[in-house]
């Protein structure tokens, strides 16, 4: 379905995840973050960059991977994206929600 975010029309799934990453821009990310009650800072963007990079390289995302990345420690990750950090960060990053492993 279509949704207007930051004056742009983007397609999202039922949970609000962008279905086409090419429609994403920083303004859209900022707006989604606001809807999640998150005010974006440089620290937030650093992790979003990392997540998008992994997505482009088609590498699966996991808490373990983030821990190993050295970009952020997991406590901080939880503090930046309270609730479900990976679920929220991927939504802001404009990529699909990570599939739970088998």
């Amino acid at each position: 379905m279509d949704k207007t975010i930051a004056q742009a029309t983007v397609s999202v799934d039922q949970e609000g995840y962008l279905t086409d990453f090419s429609q994403w821009n920083k303004e859209i990310g900022t707006e989604i973050a606001k809807e999640q009650g998150i005010e974006m800072t440089d620290k937030h963007w650093a992790i979003i960059d990392y997540i998008q990079q992994k997505f482009k390289e088609e590498e699966p995302l996991s808490i373990r991977g983030i821990k190993k990345s050295g970009v952020i420690d997991i406590k901080e990750f939880y503090a930046l994206f309270p609730g479900g950090p990976l679920k929220k960060a991927t939504m802001i990053a404009g990529i699909p929600k990570p599939k739970s492993c088998i």
Partner: protein
């Protein structure tokens, strides 16, 4: 004269002479090496021994352990349903006698030189390598887990030792908080922790002390299982049995001094007995050889089972990074397809892209009943009948006594058919869509 004579003699010999003498020459014999003699490796040895010409191929299988465990039995051991003798046998019993069986630790795989180094220095050259080194628990990955309370109040049931220690603890336990916990995905047999919770409910009921035991199921997932339809069914069962659920719990540490587990969001779950499924990782050999991902699993083509990095190295079972369940049934279906692909590879034919992620698991739900689920990469478990469409006798995604009998019968099938590479009638390697109610899932 001499050269002439030689020519005459050779000319008189039949063609077969050259062919056979060449093939019997050990230097020219080709080597297929299998690493790991667990469920997957043993099955591959048994499949291939009858298919590869003995005068051309030498099959070697390496495993450092002497005992072959029936791992699904570890679920029953803590509840005194199986005895220790029912879950272990001597590994050599199941290795085909024409294969060379080496019981030694593997030091390194050197793909650039097509060889495997063993701990005591022997080198095994290979033309084809099959990695079946499985997965193991890594409790040291979480702070406090493998501390002084390991196998005292903090247990695993994925090892023989853990399951046995838990059995002894349960025999004398007077009750309290029992927490069944998954550290992170993926894990071997993802339904096992749920089954454990169900069986605990029924075990303590039978002991007449269920009211003294508080059971909580703690998972990093958003629900009881990884597949939505099955999660719904399993969630109801948890509720019916009075088992609490804590979801989205990403453990940071075990506070063994104060008996609680704590996650990154500072959520705490107290326990008297913690039964955890620690992080699962591929063998350290894979890491040493530079062949694995973050969790030491080997990146493998999910349809052909050839490894991504080397065309003469194949992998199956729990050792791969495939997005399929890490379960014996998956290894069984993979083995049938991989056998065919090895034969194709030898002939220089294109590999069959056939593996569809097919998994088939019984889920013990306690009180002598079980569920059965059948699924693959693209289809989640649904309701229906198995293996005969519309007939059964097993019901998919529904509790029944027949399913439980099926699970118990499976131990016999495992020891007598499965690892020996004997095809199980009516059960195909790829998933059948017949007799299943897919339309109901999509609704």
């Amino acid at each position: 004269m001499c050269p002439k004579l030689t020519i005459v003699i050779f000319a008189d010999l039949p063609f077969e002479y050259f062919y056979q003498s060449k093939s019997h020459n050990l230097d020219i014999m080709k080597n297929l090496v299998i690493l790991g003699a667990g469920t997957a490796g043993t099955m591959m040895a048994n499949h291939l021994i009858g298919k590869l010409p003995k005068d051309e191929w030498k099959i070697t299988i390496v495993d450092q352990y002497k005992t072959h465990y029936y791992q699904p039995g570890f679920l029953f051991l803590p509840f005194d349903i199986y005895t220790t003798d029912q879950v272990k046998k001597k590994g050599s019993k199941f290795i085909p006698k024409d294969a060379r069986y080496i019981q030694e630790k593997i030091e390194l795989i050197v793909p650039e030189e097509n060889k495997v180094q063993l701990e005591k220095g022997e080198e095994l050259p290979y033309d084809i390598l099959i990695i079946a080194t499985g997965t193991k628990i890594a409790p040291e990955e979480v702070e406090g887990m493998k501390g002084p309370e390991w196998h005292k109040s903090v247990f695993d049931f994925y090892t023989y030792e853990g399951a046995k220690a838990l059995r002894d603890k349960f025999r004398e336990w007077k009750g309290g908080k029992l927490v069944v916990h998954i550290t992170e995905m993926p894990i071997k047999c993802p339904v096992a922790p749920l089954e454990f919770a169900f069986l605990a409910d029924s075990y303590f009921k039978n002991k007449g002390m269920r009211d003294k035991v508080d059971i909580t199921f703690v998972t990093p997932l958003g629900g009881a299982f990884t597949k939505p339809k099955a999660t719904q069914a399993l969630h109801h069962l948890l509720t019916d049995k009075g088992i609490k659920e804590v979801t989205d719990f990403n453990i940071e540490r075990v506070d063994y001094e104060n008996n609680k587990i704590i996650d990154y969001a500072e959520t705490e779950v107290p326990y008297d007995i913690l039964v955890t499924v620690p992080t699962n990782m591929g063998d350290a050999l894979i890491e040493r050889s530079g062949l694995g991902d973050d969790l030491n699993y080997v990146p493998t083509n999910k349809a052909t089972l050839q490894t991504e990095a080397h065309e003469n190295i194949f992998a199956l079972g729990d050792a791969t990074n495939l997005p399929a369940s890490k379960a014996g049934s998956v290894a069984h279906f993979e083995a049938e397809i991989l056998t065919e692909n090895i034969l194709r590879y030898i002939k220089g034919e294109p590999l069959k892209e056939e593996f569809d992620g097919h998994a088939n698991c019984f889920i013990e739900t306690g009180d002598g009943k079980a569920l059965l689920i059948d699924f693959n990469y693209t289809h989640e478990p649904v309701e229906g009948t198995f293996p005969f469409p519309g007939v059964g006798p097993l019901n998919l995604l529904k509790e029944s006594r027949m399913n439980h009998m099926g699970k118990l019968a499976f131990r016999w099938i495992y020891w007598n058919m499965l690892i020996k590479g004997i095809h199980i009638p009516f059960v195909s390697a790829t998933m059948s869509e017949k007799g299943k109610h897919f339309e109901e899932t999509e609704a």
